[in-house]
Symmetry: D2
Subunit: 398 residues, 4 copies
């Protein structure tokens, strides 16, 4: 079936890429060893540092987010090292699996996929590890499979209380530039991210923000590393270059996207995502459906995962919506397959796009014959409009 | 204020241009006297003929819709000729003013800007003109300032009954490729259109579809004409060329847009516009606001003009919506200035874009403090979802 | 045949459009009655004034260059007015034909298509017109069909000497932003231009720069005018708007192109064109071919027209070059058809593009079996390299 | 300094990306888990197989060429395995260094950077390795730092003669789609490539073509692998998906580029590169400069490395050319730094672009004060024109 109009790409990433970014990427490719390219690199890195809230090194890979995960491990750890990974959902599982494939030993702290990493559990685990065998703690900040955002500052405090020297590695793939994130202030050692979510760039770039402690760990780390080696990259980056051919045109897109974030202002960006998270949850509640995330303190502002009513398959709903309403929603991952659909509300997004998105879900539920209460969109509009006019009495609109 | 996300361009044209069309326009410019360009022309003209439903000549101007209006006049009429123009709104007024500037005499049939051209009045006027002084009848098919669509087949029949030889000139600028239109079957002599509405191309191209009778009228027409002269263009078009440099890159965009219309299928395109017109009117009624068009037989499927409640200014509402919700709505034109806002729902558009559009209006009414009843968006969603599932009982969604 | 690599669009316009301009044009279309559009207009007009070297009004049409010619006539003249047009080639003929179609009387000063307008002849004609029946003098600054650039300051002085009040209308379509041009200083009344040559934008926009005297002439001018009427446009332009839908996306392209001209600096732009004109003529002479332009004072810096040797057809050469070397050259127009080919070297262009262009001609002559002396490219390189290093002895290069 | 006109990106990659590819990349990003993306993958892989001349698996990484090198190693080898790498230049050194970083032992066969891998040496080395300790032989097909193309079929025959079971790994980064390459017919086990050279796509994608034998080697290979693991990718690719987010927009570019190669026809693509290699060498010889590659059987058709005359620095020349002529040439790498410049003549390229390129070198030599004989461009034109008209006597052009 041929569709008219915009496709609503409401998976939790890749997100809707701004046309400004797409056009920037269409600039002719340049010499990656020439002065124009060097200037581009030297502009991008500080701009990324502002987004990660760090003064530390940032490394850019041509690669997906998984590339940055591998980079985090191989640059800091040795074969057989123990890594404490909190089970929060499919992406924590991905960190675990990658660690194991690389020859690390994983302590996987069980979770119910409805809540974030527990600071209590973290403190207890670390305190018990008198020998400091655990070399790294891994937490997915915003678990993209569930829409649960772990509270990193609380976790950091737990680590500090335990006086344990493990590195703190955070997956900020679906939180950066959507949910408040502070690499330095929160004492994160390696923050991993990709280009295709809050950063509003197509997939193909991965990032590591790296604390001095993490970089120092590289001195003794014995996992083999070549492509992912931080040192070579950071050294050449100082002059604006890379040890191998960087993904020039994605860099153009990234520059434009970072400029857009600065134009809007990060505080506004975060407020916008908070407003959209709130409105989406209002809609889900009005439909009488269940949000996966249990703890309001952990609600994700970048996406919302929603349980299907018993006996109804999420993939059927998603495909009805794709066919009838030209919108892509996120699938349920791993053990949530078929049970959950996910609404992305991050990146290049606004109130009317959210209204269209939620309208697509509400009409999709109806067309697919899924039981729901009408009124979700209206609840969201109430929430959005209220956010636009704090002082205005809502009673006025009668 | 910096906005994130898509701008909703919901004026009744220019419409949201598909990214495919924008990218097509970004192809390098080619030699307008070379074989590749000739092939482009020879592909475009038959494709346009299918859209206009005509086997007659079509002339493409680099110009706005007004260029095609001037072309219609100067190619068929002589100084002092009488033209019968039906007052339907600001665009009928534009035809009148242009005619007068060119030295024609206009019989302006008064109208209330809420209804279309009357076939009764037309028959009576023509029957009274025994001397056949009236050389042309002008009707704006879809009056873009009011959202009233005159019923051309009824008007044609009235002309036929009166056996009057006047040419029938139709302004299809905001109807073509949105509302059913048939140049040949309806016996239209000159159809005037522009690129920027249902054709989904940026503004800059204007079109005349020209009956044999209209072309023959050129033989005796004495208004001076040079740039707009049909003969030179049609002659050169036969080989794919133009007497002056055509707007190459807009041609690329037009080719892509026509391809998209063919992919969707014109019947589907028209059904889609009908569905969106219906849903929009459902929303307006639910808000308790008044639609400008009085006669349901004349409802426009490409746009809806809406009266503001007494004491509230449409331009204030429009600017609140632009500022808070990143959406452009159409202004009230001429005597409707400040009293009416217009919602464009034509061109590259779909259900979720319409939902976002109406959400923007509903929230805008609230933020601007305009009295309204909540529920317009919900009424529209009911209308849209029902259209997607004719067989499904709507009672199910409770 | 499928070609790899860039197409060399070396006709004398449309010229190679910069990728920056093409991408700018691919921005989404906006509301032509909104604040963002108004700001665009209010930025464009002063930037155009700088390019035309004028403080007078500039009007932008959606249209080809011919639209601006018609506008020049209908806004200033009355039926039957006499216009003095200098025969310089096919474009002077076009001005003549358009004038006649509009009901003006043309005094066509004969020319041999190898030289520019004569100031002696001009002064003599005007002095003879004691009754001041001649209302306008028309000169094509750079005659695109021949590559002859008339010397406008000399012509102006001749008019001044004759104390004749006729308007001076100049066609700067293929000279503006390539060859020095000064609307105000040279006392031009109407300068006509298009977007697709030195301005580096695709075709579709036309311009008139209008002196106060020309605007005043509109008060008594009786040619009918509607679409082209300056007053309505200039009035609305003051606030950034237009009486009809402007060609939004071409405006984006124009803004980017004007920015590029300012970045390079107009003095540099003119020097670059002078260097390329000189090098091209060096190549033509080295090939033993004849330049159409006879008088070195009138050499065009934007293009060069070249005679074919007796018995060889230019169109055959052009099509060999198009097929084998993926380059378009300009055809011989009107009486030069088949006898002349034209090399465009204006717009977005540089030394290596010129080298490629001339290499295409030199190899094309060979492949097409046209007699020539080898070495044209080498002569051009000598000329270009010398221009890059004035102080360096050329003897060094052995 | 601001430049007008096209930038000539004549490094040996990234190459000039076709505007068609750039525009394709600017399409909106889609759901990488939806049906449209799956169809894209399932179209790309067979198209890549045709380019690699293989029926074997092809894996696409978001990454640079180095990513594919690492993938080749970690998917087939174990820590301490011996790898035989032929020294041909900087890229063979890169393979060596990466192998060592990953914990492999490298037998580095010395070379003079002016000739390719020796089949005699290969046979001798393998025959001496009775214990079959050498697990892989690495050859850079076209050594990008020197412009020497090793003769893979001869090397394969030598391996066959020695009956040694080592895997054959070939770096085809700067040869694929420029110089004849046949993965299956030549019995290559792993071919490594990137997107940014003959494939005409911006950098950011890397490829491995993988023989059944290489895949089987993965069963016992013990180097840790996660991101680069072939099995997971190949399994998911069968349905059109990837284990992690692929670089969607670069895929769009790749699809367009592969379509362009098919339109031109691979035989024509190879002939074009051969013609340009020949013409470039003719120019270098005419200038009296020395080509790095010593053996005409090993001349590269994708690029030419040229020695500077004694006492002149290549980087100075390159920067004169960049500044004056808006062209980027390749730097001398590693031990050739300053001594060599490299001319890329691969990818989206044609005769006139080559003429412009060589003109830039010739004028650059002059402006930089490097001693040379004039006439290189003319020699190249002779070579190119002769190739266009085999039957035409060159004597005709006098």
């Amino acid at each position: 079936m041929t569709h008219s109009g915009w496709h609503f790409l409401q998976i939790p990433g890749p997100t809707n890429v701004p046309d400004r970014v797409l056009r920037a990427m269409a600039r002719p490719t340049i010499d990656h060893r020439g002065p124009e390219f060097a200037a581009l690199t030297l502009e991008l890195i500080p701009a990324l540092q502002r987004v990660f809230s760090t003064a530390d090194s940032i490394v850019i890979y041509p690669g997906s987010g998984s590339a940055a995960i591998e980079a985090a491990y191989v640059n800091t750890l040795s074969p057989g090292d123990r890594v404490l990974v909190f089970e929060t959902g499919a992406f924590s599982l991905h960190w675990k699996t990658m660690a194991e494939k690389l020859g690390l030993r994983v302590d996987y702290v069980p979770g119910n996929w409805r809540s974030g990493a527990s600071e209590v559990e973290l403190e207890s685990r670390l305190s018990a590890d008198k020998a400091h065998e655990i070399k790294a703690v891994v937490v997915v900040h915003n678990e993209t499979s569930t829409g649960v955002a772990s509270r990193i500052p609380e976790l950091r405090k737990a680590m500090d209380r335990s006086k344990h020297p493990a590195l703190l590695m955070i997956d900020a793939v679906s939180s950066l530039a959507s949910i408040d994130y502070r690499h330095d202030e929160w004492g994160v050692d390696v923050t991993v991210c990709g280009s295709q979510k809050g950063l509003m760039v197509p997939p193909g770039l991965a990032f590591c923000a790296i604390s001095k402690k993490a970089r120092a760990a590289g001195g003794t780390a014995r996992l083999p590393r070549a492509y992912f080696d931080w040192d070579g990259i950071i050294t050449q980056n100082a002059k604006g270059f890379f040890p191998y051919t960087p993904a020039t045109n994605l860099f153009y897109g990234l520059r434009e996207a970072l400029l857009m974030l600065e134009e809007e202002g990060m505080a506004n960006v975060l407020r916008r995502h908070a407003r959209h998270g709130e409105a989406t949850r209002a809609a889900v509640r009005a439909w009488g459906l269940e949000i996966v995330c249990e703890d309001p303190r952990e609600y994700s502002n970048s996406m919302t995962a929603v349980y299907m009513p018993e006996g109804h398959n999420a993939d059927n709903l998603r495909s009805v919506i794709l066919e009838h309403f030209n919108m892509s929603l996120g699938i349920g991952l791993a053990k949530l397959s078929g049970k959950v659909f996910r609404i992305g509300h991050l990146g290049h997004f606004n109130d009317l796009m959210l209204a269209g998105t939620l309208a697509g879900v509400e009409m999709g539920l109806r067309v697919a014959g899924v039981p729901y209460k009408a009124g979700g969109v209206m609840a969201a509009l109430d929430s959005l409009a209220a956010a636009q006019q704090p002082a205005l009495l809502t009673a006025q609109a009668r």
